[in-house]
Structures are given as structure tokens and as C-alpha cells.
Subunit: 402 residues, 2 copies
């Protein structure tokens, strides 16, 4: 048992992560299932939208010239010669003095050049009276006006929104090329641990980190390939760190004790880039590479595990997934109800409550209280160069609430 | 064809929704699958956490009295009589002058009352020298200190966070009672529509609303039970509106034309509470009840459909799911690059771009441009009493980007 010879800063750890993350390969996916995924290539529209001239209002398709001078005092009568519905266009060629009843979205009849809105007409039998003039092209959607064929509709790198997936359907692009999901393996170590779903038994406790990490990884766009307790033996841990995934999260055994196998194995068989970080909690965290995959060493303590995930592993997974590396939490600037103490030289992840818009630091002895993360509304990050903040100081709270 | 006799305000529509939404019934779910779900009952811990006295630091379990006066100049030797690891406790009762090597999380030996951290000792063979004094109880986690048995750990109404699910595992609660997911049926009407995945063909266009709505509903905590095009006939639409779900979204045929069956059916067989809303786009929207379920009438135009969903249907689904009824978009106050024109008497949902932190209204003729929602970075809501804003005015942008 010994301490860390030297700790890295949080900034150094984040910089290392940002240097490591390269875009993942692409995969093809049904467009309807691609909400939230990141485009691996530009999407080019194969069609014009609209594909045909269509009405943009309910009313009458006319020749605009026929409405010249129309008003409520100068009603100009037109003969209704047909009806155009979205599914059943009027099969007529419009002549002077004629009108076709038309619905929004329906195809314009040939030789019609404007739509007289329903609010500006009066209908009597087979006649419609124009009560207002309408200009050429008015309320008509021209071919390709919305989306032109062969134009780029959505760019590579775009995270698809629900409305984007709507557009993909509209232009007849049923499959898209998106970045492959980030495959994440969760490796939980600790011979005292029982799998989630068990009842705590004697000195054996139930693993709470893997259920938490599963939720966090899913939030950040990762796909869990496996999540299990691995026996605390070097062979088993090494083999798990060599799994065919993009990111391995090792929970537990991340420090410098003789039972902390993962850092030693990563150092010996891969690259242990960062080990020991000037922060609290989560100081005994580490990260590195094993062949192609990123490995994060997260402390077994649940609070430290959450903190190390949020600072480092989540950042990497979000970046690989094409999401912002920024905190995925809602932020709000609020004033402190009490002082918030920190120590110069380390970054603090201070859990806080918020009562009537005042921020109350949650007093915890050490990192260990599992309940502090559920009692907390969120947290404040106190930078390394700060001794903390006095009462009434404004701080930025990152809220856990979504 | 006629216009709306009278339009409701956006506020009236939102008020109506807020009056309708009652909590859903509960269902039991595996805790590990419950991230994001809302607790239907308080969770009470069946156990103490920790369940046994445990070390909170790596070091040596001691009797604090033995370290009294210890310093680097006054090293006090103790005899190492065992080792306590998390999975293998030391089976000894500590006596004066003795110490047990202990790891964080491991059970404290009987009669030990403090942990001397590894940083404050020097080890030589079977002896450990205390280099500092330690107080009684220091670095010891007492039984129930984190979570007391029979205490409420998480309250009814709580939306479960990843760390909450970790706690549920830790306390041995493998199943939880959560609010049932909001079951949503999407009903798309329009005989001109082809199902998503098709290629547009002649005057037939591809339904883009159901893929979009699927993404929006999933975002808001709803579970799509079915999503399909229904033939534009009263019987078929009525039957779909009577499906065994919590919310029915009817896309298309929401206005007052003769082909707009849904509002008439809702009025006749259920309750058409709101129809026609003073807003742009989405003015021909409606909502009501059919027996136990909420029905939203969304315009077929994709932009209007998105807008009406975001203002109304999404609000209801989020409320039923136990989420905030607030907009689920990131907000930022930014200045307008150009003026943003609106009309007094209606709420405007103005799509905007953001270039170098300046807000640029997207000029669109009418509601119809599908591409405007993907070109837009987000939108600005202009209230009914506003004529819009001059250049440089600060507006709140709601960003589509997640």
C-alpha cells in the first residue's frame, strides 16, 4: 500500500481524452430508428419536395388574371369545373373564367397559377365568386421549393432530431448511414460483491455501480455489451479489458493497493496514461488504452464512481457518440445559502441541495455516502485554484434531474 | 369549407391539458430497467447501509487510544494481528497494542474503533508504527450511517436517476413500483400518404409525421403502441380513437373541411374541448377526450404537426409520464440579427437560425416548409400580445439540439 507518486490534473485527464476520441465507423440503419444517432455521411435528396405544384391553402385554383379587381363590392364569378384533393387530383386543364375547388396539399390543375383562399370567396351552386384579387403564384408551392432534388438535406455529423427523421421519410430515404453505437463493457471487480437483484448478505454487499453505469452509458449514447462482476484475478480482469468493445469501464480496484490489479495490468499490457487525479472524490481514478479501446478505471465507491464517470468516461463516450463533451446536465446560476469549502490544488465535485433557489452544500464526511447523490439536487464543480465560496456567492449548479 | 368560428388561446389550451392529466396506474419493474421512470410509491430501505461497521480508508484498524500522542517524532508501534479485506474479514477481536491491516469497505474487527490511514503509518515486518494520532470513530462507517433500515430512501413521484437505481440495487430492492408508461397511439390520416420507407410516387407523398412523432413521443416518456396510416373514413378513425391507450395523436384532417372527420367524430362521440387556436402555425389544431383517453388533433402539415405536438400533445404526455410540462429544449437568451415580425392576437412559433450567437429568423411563406425545421437551430415563441421584436432585441431561443 502506497499513495500516488504524483497526481494529474482534471484538465490533463480531459485533454488526454479529447486527443483519443476518433470517429467510429459507420453502420446502416432504418431511418425511422435513427433518432439521436449521428449521420456518417451527407444525405442528398433523391426527389423534389414538393414533387408537383400544390396548393398551400384550402380554396380554389384559378388563373390570377381572372381575379383582377375583385372585391366584396366587385364580385367576380368563376365556374367550378372540378375538385382537386390530395389523393385525387382534378383531371382538368383550367380555362379562363374557371376554378377548381382545391385542398391544401392537393395538386394544382394544369394552367392554374394561384389559389384563391376559401376565406375570400362565396360559393353558390356551380359558381364561386372571388371577393378579392390574388397574385400569380400566390398560395402555390412550386416543384422543389421546399427541398430541391440532389441537394444536401442533412450534413454528416448531424445528430438526427425527430423532425429530421420525418424529412428522411418524406424524401424516400429509408436507410441512413450513421456512426456505429459506442460499445461499452462494464467490468465490476470486488470479491465482496453480489450481483444486482441480490439481497445484501452478511459482509457481502450488492453491486450498485453497474446498474448506475448502465443508466449513465445509455444516456450518453453508449450501448452496453456486457455488465458483470469479474473475479478479482489478474487473468480475468485482463481478459475483460481485451473485449471487443470501444470503451471498457472497470469499477473497483482502481487505486494503488496490492489488490488493485487493473491499473497494473493496463500499465503492463496497454497504456496507463493517467492514474491518480487531483480531485475529490475520485482521486484514485485512471485511464488508458488497451489496444484499440479506451479503458477507464473508476473507484469502487459509488459516489466516486459516479463522479469519475461524469468527469471522464462519460466525456469520452459522448465524444465517440458524436455528442457534446459538455456536462449533460441542466445548469443554473444560484446563490449559496452557506459557504462551500474546498481545498486549493484539487477540483471538488460538491453535491448540493437547492431549497427555495438557495444552494445548500451537502456536508459529507468523505466520498462514501451513497445516499448523498440521491439527496443532492445536483452538484457544483469547484476549480482547483479555489478555496471555495462564501455564503451568497453565485455558483453554477448542474442539476441531476434529467 | 368554412373557417373557425372562434379560436381558443394557447393559454386556454394549455390550461385545459393541465386539468386533464391525472397520474397513471402503477406497474412493477425490475429496478435496473427503471432509469427515467417515475416512482409510484415511496421506497423504504429494508436494510442498513452499511450493514456492518466498515473502514472508510485503506490503513489499519486500531484502538484510537493506542495512537494518543503519536507523531513522526514519537512513533508508536502496534502489532499486526490480521488483515480485513472486503470479502474476507479478519476473524479477530482487537486487543490493546494491536492493529489489523484493513482495506476501504472491509468490516472492522471487533473492538477496533478507528482506522489509521495508510499515509500515517510505517510498516516493518509484523509491526506498524503510528505516525499520527487518530480519534475514536475516525474513518469508520457506522451501521446505518449512510441509509438507515426502514427509512424512506426515494419518494413517490421521483424520476429515477442512474444513481437512484444504484441505490435500489445496494439496498436489495430488485423490483420497484413505477408509473405505467404512457401508451400513445399515432393515427395518420390522408389517402394521399404512403407509409414511411416508401418512395414518393406521382401525387402520393410519404408520411413524414409518424416517424417524427415517434421520436418526439419517445423523448417525452411515451410508449408507442401503434403508428400507422388509417384510411380517411369516419368508422376507421373513430375506431382508432377508441383504442386502449392513454393518448391518441391524430395527424391530418384536423381542420373544419368536409374531409376533416376527426374533430366532428370527437365532438359527436367524445368531447371536443378545443378546436382552432390563435397561433401560427398549427392554428387548425384541436384536443379533447374520447372516454378515458386524451385525443390531440394535429395538422397534417409537418411543421404545424411538430409545433402542435410541442405546444400541446408533448405537454400532456410529459405530464402523464411524471416529467416537467416545460419545453424539453435547451434555452439561451441571444440577440436578434434582424427583426422578428409577428401579429398581435396570435402566438408565433418562429423557427430561427443562430449564426455567431445572433438569432436569424427563418423567412418562410406559411407553415409549410418541411425543411425549415431542419434548417432551424431552434425557435422563438412570440407571445400573442407582441408585434415581434426589433433587431438587437434579446429573445429566448429554444434549441432543437437534443
Amino acid at each position: 500500500m502506497r499513495g500516488f507518486a504524483r497526481r494529474s490534473t482534471v484538465e490533463q485527464a480531459c485533454d488526454w481524452i479529447d486527443e483519443q476520441v476518433a470517429p467510429l465507423s459507420a453502420e446502416s440503419l432504418k431511418s425511422v430508428d435513427a433518432v439521436g444517432r449521428v449521420l456518417a455521411a451527407d444525405v442528398i435528396s433523391p426527389v423534389n419536395v414538393p414533387a408537383f405544384r400544390r396548393a398551400m391553402m384550402d380554396g380554389f385554383a384559378v388563373q390570377a388574371e381572372d381575379t383582377l379587381g375583385a372585391s366584396t363590392y366587385n364580385r367576380l364569378p368563376l365556374t367550378i369545373v372540378g375538385q382537386s384533393m390530395p389523393a385525387s387530383p382534378a383531371n382538368v386543364r383550367l380555362q379562363r373564367g374557371q376554378a377548381v375547388r382545391i385542398m391544401t396539399g392537393a395538386p394544382m390543375p394544369a394552367d392554374a397559377d394561384a389559389v384563391l383562399p376559401v376565406e375570400t370567396v362565396e360559393i353558390s351552386g356551380q359558381q364561386v365568386e372571388a371577393l378579392d384579387a390574388v397574385a400569380v403564384g400566390k398560395h402555390v408551392g412550386e416543384v422543389g421549393e421546399d427541398i430541391a432534388a440532389d441537394s444536401v438535406v442533412l450534413n454528416q455529423g448531424r445528430r438526427l432530431r425527430p423532425q429530421d427523421v420525418g424529412i428522411l421519410a418524406a424524401i424516400g430515404v429509408p436507410q441512413v448511414s450513421v456512426q456505429r453505437a459506442v460499445r461499452v463493457r462494464i467490468v465490476v471487480t470486488g470479491d465482496e460483491l453480489l450481483p444486482p437483484g441480490s439481497l445484501p448478505d452478511g459482509f457481502q454487499i450488492v453491486d450498485s455501480n453497474s446498474p448506475m453505469l448502465r443508466g449513465l452509458v445509455a444516456r450518453d449514447g453508449g450501448l452496453i455489451t456486457s455488465s458483470e462482476i469479474v473475479v478479482d484475478q489478474p487473468d480475468a480482469i485482463l481478459s475483460a479489458m481485451r473485449d471487443d468493445v470501444d470503451v471498457v469501464l472497470v469499477s473497483g480496484g482502481s487505486s494503488v493497493g496490492q489488490e488493485d490489479h487493473a491499473p497494473r495490468l493496463l500499465d503492463e499490457y496497454g497504456e496507463l496514461a493517467i492514474h491518480g487525479i487531483a480531485m475529490r472524490p475520485s482521486s484514485p481514478s485512471g485511464m488508458g488504452r488497451m489496444d484499440d479501446r479506451l479503458v477507464f478505471l473508476l473507484p469502487g465507491n459509488p459516489v466516486s464512481c459516479l463522479c469519475a464517470y461524469d468527469f471522464f468516461a462519460g466525456r469520452a463516450i459522448r465524444a465517440l457518440a458524436g455528442l457534446s463533451t459538455d456536462w449533460p446536465y441542466r445548469r443554473q446560476r444560484l446563490r449559496l445559502a452557506r459557504k462551500l469549502v474546498s481545498v486549493v490544488g484539487r477540483v471538488d465535485y460538491a453535491r448540493v441541495g437547492v431549497v427555495q433557489d438557495r444552494v445548500e452544500p451537502i456536508a459529507v464526511s468523505g466520498a462514501s455516502l451513497l445516499s448523498s447523490t440521491t439527496r443532492a439536487a445536483g452538484f457544483v464543480v469547484v476549480p482547483a485554484d479555489s478555496e471555495g465560496y462564501p455564503p451568497d456567492a453565485e455558483v453554477e449548479v448542474l442539476f441531476y434531474d434529467r
